[in-house]
Symmetry: C2
Subunit: 339 residues, 2 copies
DNA sequence: ATTAGAAATGACGACGTTGTCACAGACAGG
DNA sequence: CCTGTCTGTGACAACGTCGTCATTTCTAAT
């Protein structure tokens, strides 16, 4: 690899002068600059990040710790958003997947330390509370898609309650009154929040929500969920006073609703409106009719996580905001108006 | 951050002795070792990667360049596989997403150089030919999910032909004779190879393949595909002598086949068997009936890419193998036997 | 007790970069 | 001519680690 010294020798100047030019220091004669730049180009000089860093600078590498998000279809957009923000400043992401393994996570923290990362984004696969240990980690830690159990770290999370509200409000606005709900597993935050949003929408419309129409779409502990939306949905749709629309905990649940409808020879949206959550495009865009759903702002979460981290680096903050990002409806073809 | 010097001072030994202990050098007295280890632990010493690297070692960071794979549902498993292999040796992946942007790719190559990465995995979102420039990049470059146009780089690719063969053979074995095919766009390698595999299976069974039953499931140029599988499938299934089974170019196409079947009140698998490709679990596991499909060995591609890179580092190879990884059938519920 | 050899430890420098400071030369004003 | 200021350039040190080699301490054999 080409070093400053080699360029300097070739150009007949001192190392420092070359360094100045590489770093855009204006205190260098125009003629010298042009001559040296030529050599830099020719030798394809690229500054040695390790050396720069050791010199005392901070690392331009950020850590991205996650249970599975980085390698999971659901929320890779968090990574994309973070990288987009980082790119502008030529910074990089070191991505660590713990798969929920605490020992692995510990190893990765060690690795982050070894690389002297300038900050860490801690992202989870689904919206939840999280305790980040690492009290002796001096650089900022920002949570994405999860929030600090102790409220001691800035975090970026989706507005699940608003998303649930949007789902219900959309259907109510289209004339639906009997609306089924197929939830995610009960012990995650999103389930509670979305449920609250749905109920709020009913209240705001002056209607009462029929609790018997809310069923679980999946069961089991976190990370070991089993889908039961198909069965639950078949049962729900077989009832005499079956709902005219179904709100789904996510797009995979919606997929099973489509399957249940097909099983019963019901046609969407004619016989049944369906609204999903997550906007997993692999599903939502390819289903026919395509799926109206609520998007999770993952890209934005990633992008703002980086920005929040940069701010946190400046203001040496005790300030730990919890930033809520909106979940907009993505309107497609799976809902129709009643009457 | 704690340095060797600080540990050494605290322990009352020389820097070098601490260094020896950190690196497991046996030439150090047991008593000293234990005493120092205690201090290491207490101060939470973590070796500075930058300093180590500058000292002359190689970087333990590998680059992962990709058009979109790292942040795309389709093939994130390549990343997972690579990381799994890397983890064992405490090595890391620097992930770069070009989104097909050549300027961005150039920037990332510069970044890889800046970090003095020990090697690069170049992965593509779909199986294709690729030209890697970077003739002056001294460390190994291994291609994953694509192969070198000039055959000058080792590459790991899925056995698409075998996968196509498996799809057809599976259906033929289950008694199907009229078998529809909904392909991906024609100008990608996978389409051709899988088509060849399907035809080979028919030949091996002593049957002839009805070319009129092969239709495109999507159209448009690469990266701008549009799904038309639903329409194509509805048409195919509306014909008098409709196929009893359909081979899909991927699971998204299969999803549209399910939708088409529902549209026509046909039930899967009773009235129609469906077999997918890719095993995108979000789809294949959640559809009801769940989707029999062919898995792409993405995880394995990632894992072996790392191993191939390690080998390439040792043998300073002119040798550039093209390694084919099998695509196994994942049997679920979407196919039934005829007669 | 002496000595040879082995075991344990430490001093030093180099890796590539950049901040600090010093120096050389140009130029203006007195 | 001297002084002061300004511009351009370079010498040097330091960052943290580890290989090389020298030095010290210990062990065992005479």
């Amino acid at each position: 690899m080409v070093t400053l010294r080699q360029v300097a020798e070739r150009a007949g100047v001192s190392i420092k002068t070359v360094s100045r030019i590489v770093n855009g220091d204006p205190a260098v004669n125009a003629k010298t600059r042009i001559a040296v730049q030529h050599h830099l180009e020719f030798l394809n000089y690229v500054p040695n990040h390790a050396a720069r860093m050791m010199r005392g600078g901070s690392s331009s590498i950020f850590g991205f710790m996650t249970d599975a998000v980085a390698t999971t279809p659901y929320s890779v957009d968090i990574v994309r958003g973070a990288q987009a923000a980082l790119n502008e400043k030529n910074q990089t992401l070191l991505i660590a997947n713990t798969d929920g393994d605490a020992k692995l996570e510990k190893e990765y923290w060690r690795m982050f330390r070894a690389h002297r990362v300038a900050g860490v984004i801690y992202a989870s696969m689904f919206h939840r509370s999280h305790m980040v240990g690492q009290p002796d980690f001096k650089d900022p830690i920002v949570l994405a898609n999860c929030f600090a159990a102790l409220g001691d770290r800035p975090s970026l999370i989706p507005d699940d309650e608003g998303g649930g509200y949007a789902q219900a409000e959309y259907l109510l606005r289209h004339g639906h009154r009997r609306i089924g709900v197929l939830t995610l597993i009960p012990d995650i935050v999103a389930t509670t929040l979305r449920g609250a949003g749905i109920r709020q929408a009913f209240r705001d419309a002056g209607l009462s929500f029929d609790e018997s129409l809310e069923q679980r779409g999946m069961v089991g502990p976190v990370h070991f969920e089993r889908m039961i939306a198909f069965d639950a949905c078949v049962k729900m749709l077989s009832a005499k006073d079956r709902p005219s629309a179904i709100i789904c905990g996510n797009d995979q649940v919606a997929l099973q609703v489509y399957s249940a409808a097909a099983h019963l020879d019901l046609h969407i949206p004619r016989d049944l409106s369906v609204i999903g959550f997550d906007d997993q495009k692999v599903i939502s865009e390819n289903l026919r009719p395509s799926l109206t759903t609520v998007a999770l702002p993952y890209f934005e979460i990633g992008r703002q996580a980086v920005e929040t981290m940069r701010e946190a680096k400046q203001n040496d903050a005790n300030w730990a905001p919890k930033i809520l990002l909106p979940c907009p409806i993505v309107e497609r073809e799976s809902c129709c108006a009643i009457r």
